[in-house]
């Protein structure tokens, strides 16, 4: 031992009242753990929404009136939904000033396939290669040569096939032409994209072939139209124009649709954030109360420290330091427990998101680190703010009275 620092003094004080310290650390760790976990989930949904927006590249979604919610379900969670409208809406949409691209998509009945021991559900989507801006820009790898509209399909990054391999849909053989980059979003990862014209032909073939369930799709059916508007155009006005010009369609703004998803998530999990905030405030108040008691209990010691040369600032720092050490330990513990819990139950959490129809992308390591750092700072703030008033009171003690009062 070559010196007694303020932090050493603070640590010794913490050890002196070990039960009180442990209770405080535990309370802080619960609060910070909940904050960390909830923020992590929120970030994963937020990231999912951002990637979804970037991938879709559309400003508006046009669906048959009454099917807006189903259209949203398909895009957000990748869950199959069947509904159609006539393809003539595409020409009407593209004719509206300000619309720069309109690409139809067809949602078809689920195709299931057997992979080893489990049946994985995939979404079958017909896309229009000529107008598409949602699928083809995200191709990660493909076979050489141009796409063959008669036999080629494009698969999501999580469909367990390789490009060039054969793939059977409704008994018809197709070639995997390309695979998309993995996103973590079901709509892109677990979907098989088939050229629209070929989808109509496939439906016809299933009707003619015995032993295969018919694909209920008529030529000219489309489920949705994804619309991209000019950068200078007013998206809201164009949406209103589409609704005015084309009867029996609903128009959703993609941004609103995804924001709505976030709102739904917040409704479901916002309680946790509120719980975390309430815990944070309660713990801050608890720290304030505990440290007010500590200052009162240690008046004589504080007076002695002043007598031997500690100025007001040093006494204030000692009180704050003690609180900050406690809340830092609680914060680190909460983050560690949160991280371990997430690591162990990651697959369960992600499948819960899928069940709840949320787009999600697991945050990257730097993002998790940033969330951890933010949660840690919240724990530090808890200590600093909680001990602020008791620390201030400790500086107001006149050494002589502090020593006499403590006698």
């Amino acid at each position: 031992m070559t010196s007694v620092s303020l932090s050493y003094l603070a640590r010794r004080n913490i050890v002196r009242k070990s039960f009180r310290s442990i209770v405080l650390i535990f309370a802080v760790s619960i609060s910070v753990g909940v904050l960390f976990s909830t923020t992590l989930m929120l970030k994963s949904i937020d990231k999912g929404i951002k990637v979804e927006m970037e991938r879709l590249g559309a400003d508006l979604l046009v669906a048959p009136v009454g099917y807006e919610a189903k259209a949203r379900t398909v895009l957000v969670s990748g869950e199959p939904q069947i509904f159609y409208m006539g393809e003539e809406v595409v020409d009407k949409i593209i004719a509206i000033p300000g619309v720069v691209a309109a690409s139809p998509q067809i949602f078809m009945e689920t195709s299931s396939y057997l992979l080893c021991c489990e049946i994985l559900e995939t979404l079958l989507v017909g896309f229009d290669p000529e107008t598409d801006f949602t699928v083809t820009p995200w191709i990660e790898s493909r076979v050489d040569g141009p796409i063959d509209y008669e036999r080629d399909i494009i698969t999501g990054g999580m469909v367990a096939v390789y490009e060039g391999y054969a793939y059977y849909i409704y008994g018809q053989e197709f070639r995997v032409y390309a695979r998309l980059q993995k996103t973590g979003l079901n709509y892109f990862d677990r979907t098989i994209f088939i050229p629209r014209a070929r989808a109509y032909k496939l439906a016809q073939q299933t009707k003619e072939r015995k032993g295969v369930a018919p694909l209920k799709l008529s030529s000219g059916d489309v489920s949705i139209v994804l619309v991209r508007v000019s950068p200078n155009a007013n998206v809201t006005k164009i949406a209103e124009q589409i609704k005015r010009d084309i009867p029996d369609v609903s128009v959703l703004k993609i941004q609103d649709m995804l924001a709505n998803t976030k709102q739904i998530f917040l409704k479901l999990f916002g309680g946790l954030l509120v719980f975390s905030a309430v815990l944070w405030v309660a713990n801050t108040l608890m720290i304030s109360a505990i440290f007010s008691t500590i200052v009162s209990e240690r008046q004589r010691e504080l007076g002695i420290l002043r007598a031997i040369g500690a100025d007001r600032n040093a006494v204030f720092r000692l009180i704050i330091l003690e609180a900050v050490i406690l809340t830092s330990i609680g914060g680190i513990l909460g983050i560690a427990v949160g991280s371990i819990t997430f690591t162990i139950f990651k697959s369960h959490i992600l499948s819960s998101f899928t069940m709840l129809k949320f787009p999600y992308i697991w945050p990257s390591s730097p993002e998790i680190l940033a969330i951890g750092l933010g949660s840690f700072l919240a724990s530090l703030a808890m200590g600093i703010i909680g001990a602020l008033y008791p620390g201030f009171i400790s500086t107001k003690l006149e050494p002589y009275f502090a020593i006499r009062k403590g006698e």
Partner: protein, 225 residues
């Protein structure tokens, strides 16, 4: 040198003013060993606290080596307490969570002194008070006399010019009390330290170079007057 001018302290208790110290003028030379005696409530401790910069006088001034200590800001006054004054109180004033050695080193936490030198000096001071074998003991493991000797070592660690001792032997047995006072006299001679000792014990007070008597907030007897 310590000089006080018209030093007065009035406490407000309820709606009453209590004059604890009234117009005390005092001069204590360097290396002088001064004792103050008086009944309980005569104002001895309050006077000592004002001289030591622990409680602000209602009126009057305190000069330590020519510095008007109550004109200093908190930082400067704390520095002065740290460097020039060592306190010994009438109770165990050790920090219970620190060992004897750590308690002695504590003043260095608030000074610019080199920590390593302080550690060596702390051990020397514990040796001086004959407690070098108890450096790792906590206050609860020390007897009352040993605790007081650790407090003396702590008061000396920053080589102060002045020691202010408030009833330092009040709760000690006669033998230990004699040892402590002998130690004070030794320190006074060896380190040329000025001592201001508050005590009830006339016999102890007589060992000082100069004995002051206080009553009702005033110095009623001073050989220099």
């Amino acid at each position: 040198m310590i000089v006080t001018e018209n030093l007065t302290k009035i406490y407000r208790v309820g709606d009453r003013d209590i004059e604890a110290v009234i117009d005390v003028g005092l001069r204590i030379s360097d290396n002088e060993f001064v004792s103050i005696v008086g009944h309980s409530g005569s104002g001895k401790t309050t006077l000592l606290s004002m001289i030591g910069g622990l409680t602000r006088p209602t009126k009057g001034k305190v000069f330590v080596d020519g510095i008007d200590i109550w004109s200093l800001g908190d930082k400067e006054l704390s520095k002065l307490r740290n460097e020039k004054i060592g306190f010994i109180f009438q109770f165990s004033s050790l920090i219970p969570t620190l060992t004897a050695l750590e308690n002695v080193m504590l003043p260095a936490t608030f000074s610019q002194n080199k920590k390593k030198e302080v550690a060596i000096r702390a051990e020397e001071m514990l040796d001086l008070v004959e407690l070098s074998h108890r450096i790792d003991s906590y206050p609860s493991q020390l007897s009352g006399g040993e605790q007081r000797r650790v407090a003396i070592a702590r008061a000396l660690v920053n080589k102060p010019k002045i020691i202010l001792a408030d009833e330092p032997t009040g709760d000690l047995d006669h033998e230990t009390e004699k040892d402590v006072i002998d130690l004070f006299l030794k320190i006074n001679k060896e380190f040329n330290t000025t001592f201001l000792l508050v005590t009830h014990n006339i016999e102890l007070a007589m060992k000082a170079d100069r004995k002051l008597v206080m009553d009702q907030g005033k110095i009623i007897e001073d050989p220099n007057d």
